[in-house]
């Protein structure tokens, strides 16, 4: 099964909508609630990163008996140094975004903690693709 949800860059009033849709879907599919709790954290952080740092993106969810694979691909500025971006506390968020309580530099570390496999691919001035895999067993 495969599902796609669009993410609008820059629009904080819709941030979390895609994650919320996927959460509903996983509940309908009777995924273990403890797994849903973890996945939701990773989904939201990846979604908000598109809203805060990129122009537009798509959240693609592929679900089979063994794993949930979520791929969030965006068009945006990309991440020049992924290792640096992964460090807790590192953020390039604008002052306006920080004022809202985003920009703690905790999003990517939260994603890492809340999925089983994480892959980040990025090209500067093109975009970023975050792939996170959660095993079901």
């Amino acid at each position: 099964m495969e599902f796609n949800y669009e993410i609008e860059g820059g629009n904080f009033s819709h941030a979390g909508t895609a994650s919320s849709e996927v959460k509903k879907l996983l509940k309908q599919l009777n995924v273990n609630p403890a797994l849903i709790k973890r996945i939701v954290v990773a989904l939201y952080e990846a979604e908000v990163n598109v809203v805060a740092h990129a122009y537009e993106g798509v959240m693609n969810v592929v679900f089979d008996n063994n794993a949930i694979v979520v791929k969030i691909a965006d068009k945006g500025p990309g991440i020049p140094d992924i290792n640096l971006a992964m460090q807790e506390g590192f953020s390039t968020a604008s002052p306006a975004v920080r004022e809202m309580g985003f920009g703690a530099g905790m999003g990517l570390p939260n994603i890492k903690k809340n999925c089983d496999e994480l892959k980040i691919e990025s090209e500067v001035n093109k975009g970023t693709t975050v792939t996170m895999i959660t095993h079901l067993n």
């Binding site: 979390g16 959460k23 939701v40 954290v41 939201y44 809202m100 309580g101 703690a104 939260n110």
Partner: protein, 112 residues
Amino acid sequence: MKVKDIVEKLQLTVCSGAAGLEREVKGGYVSDLLSDVMGNANEGNVWLTLQTHKNIMAIASLKELAAVILVKGYQPEEDTRNESETEGIPVLSTSLPTFEIAGALFEILKNG
């Protein structure tokens, strides 16, 4: 302990989401950094913050928090209130600063 019990004991104002007053409270979390709450708050927590925008409801809903308490007299924005109604998760407010309301909440949750 239910949300309505802490509303009564802490003399909180119910700004929106009254349908959620029966939600069960399991502890609290204090932070104004959204990723910190996302990563560290637990289901059933009451969240104390000074953030008033709609994104607090996205987090409250995804994390299945019991309620949000806005400190120091802050009021929710209109779309925050609407989202709180839709989700049935109460937004409460107090005139007290975070330190005092957190202490009072800790005290009543500790004593059951």
